[in-house]
């Protein structure tokens, strides 16, 4: 149970740091809204309703990337990450805490983005929303790990999208499929499978990324 207590403490810490003015969340909100507006102008007349769903997912992924790029910045200052790694807690708890916090931020951004999408473009049914939620988990899980890898190097802002986008492709397929297809269950199950595989992989391998 101390594992969960550690995770809770770490997630709380991340939420607190963000609330104290990292301004990642406002940036994500503004970004996703701006992107949606850009899409209105980018979509030619008569593109069909389904094109909008594709663009929604592009917006979600890039908004998530924005949040993920800054996920480990608090730990970079004063090299706090070393302090966390030194602690007797399980290193994977650090990853889980960060993933949960990033998930909260992404969901928060989406509570604005999704209604805006419905307003500007197309309705979203339960399957589509389910797809969004499940894919959020996948993106945050994988993205947290990749962000931790990238943050140690140079040109990290460029590197993170390169690392995450190929991994996000299956999630986009799942999400768009859940919104568009007549058989959304397949896609939702697929995203669930992705989450299971990659969340476990990320959870298990975080230790190796932050230690020498």
């Amino acid at each position: 149970m101390t594992y969960l207590a550690d995770v809770a403490a770490l997630t709380r810490k991340d939420l607190r740091v963000e609330l104290r003015g990292r301004d990642t969340l406002p940036a994500m909100l503004l970004f996703v809204l701006s992107t949606l507006v850009v899409f209105h102008f980018a979509l030619p007349e008569g593109s069909g309703e389904t094109a909008a769903y594709g663009l929604l997912w592009v917006a979600i992924v890039f908004t998530a990337l924005l949040g993920l790029a800054r996920a480990w910045v608090p730990e970079q200052e004063h090299r706090v990450l070393d302090g966390l790694v030194l602690a007797p807690c399980d290193r994977s708890a650090i990853w889980l805490g960060k993933t949960l916090a990033t998930l909260v931020f992404l969901l928060a951004a989406q509570t604005v983005a999704l209604p805006a999408f419905v307003l500007f473009f197309e309705p979203l049914d339960a399957a589509a929303l389910g797809g969004v939620l499940l894919a959020d988990v996948g993106i945050c899980a994988v993205g947290s790990l990749m962000s931790a890898m990238a943050v140690a190097g140079r040109s990290r802002e460029v590197l993170l999208p390169l690392l995450v986008l190929p991994l996000a492709i299956p999630l986009i397929v799942g999400g768009v499929g859940a919104a568009v297809s007549a058989e959304p269950e397949r896609f939702l199950l697929f995203v669930l499978l992705y989450d299971a595989v990659f969340a476990v992989l990320s959870w298990a391998s975080f230790e190796y990324v932050v230690t020498e």
């Binding site: 890898m149 390169l162 690392l163 190929p166 991994l167 499929g177 297809s181 697929f190 391998s205 990324v209």
Partner: protein, 209 residues
């Protein structure tokens, strides 16, 4: 020896006496399979690095993935030629194999960006190893995704006809596959030896300074 094999490679397709599209097939598929194999080897070496912690696995994993990426690029090129020969287009989204390779190619290119961005040392070795493992996990997941996408989101326009292989064609195919695999192996050893030599020379230079 590698030269003899390359010759075998050229001779075998000529034996086939088919149209260009069939001939490319004999090279395209073995190259694709070899690329998968290289990525798999890279992942195994990566796992060994994380498990055993011996430094040499880092270089071995890197070289394997390097080879895999080269063969992946070749897969895309030969696949494109095949598409041109079969359907008259340079690219098609309906070939699941080709799309999968595109995704993987992007993924593994990012591998090199990752290595380039991190400083040499245990951190880089471990992060690369973890990324390599994600790669092999991505292969089946991506394949599933592309299948789902092609069935539901992008309905297939062209049907993909793998050529039916008779006995002699199958034999030719096997020869080609063997040749390509051996070629990959030779390249792997050569590159690995070359890089090791590089590293040894540098160490020697440092000691002498």
């Amino acid at each position: 020896m590698g030269l003899a094999l390359v010759l075998a490679l050229i001779v075998a397709p000529e034996d086939a006496d088919q149209g260009i599209s069939q001939r490319i097939f004999y090279i395209h598929v073995p190259i694709a399979l070899t690329a998968y194999f290289c990525f798999g080897l890279g992942a195994i070496k990566a796992l060994l690095l994380l498990w055993r912690g011996e430094e040499r696995y880092d270089l071995e994993s890197y070289v394997a993935i390097h080879q895999g990426t080269i063969f992946g690029a070749l897969t895309l090129i030969t696949g494109s030629i095949w598409a041109r020969a079969s359907w008259g287009v340079w690219w098609t989204w309906s070939s699941n194999q080709l799309v999968l390779f595109l995704v993987l190619f992007l993924f593994y290119c990012a591998y090199f960006m990752l290595r380039f961005s991190l400083e040499d040392g245990p951190r880089r070795a471990r992060s690369s190893a973890v990324y390599a493992l994600f790669g092999v996990a991505l292969i089946p997941v991506s394949f599933l995704a592309i299948r789902l996408a092609s069935d539901f989101i992008h309905p297939t326009v062209f049907t993909r006809d793998g050529p039916q292989m008779s006995g002699s064609m199958f034999a030719t195919f096997l020869v080609c596959w063997g040749a390509v695999t051996f070629l990959a192996y030779v390249l792997y050893r050569v590159e690995l030896a070359g890089k090791r030599l590089d590293a040894d020379l540098r160490e020697l230079r440092e000691v002498l300074q």
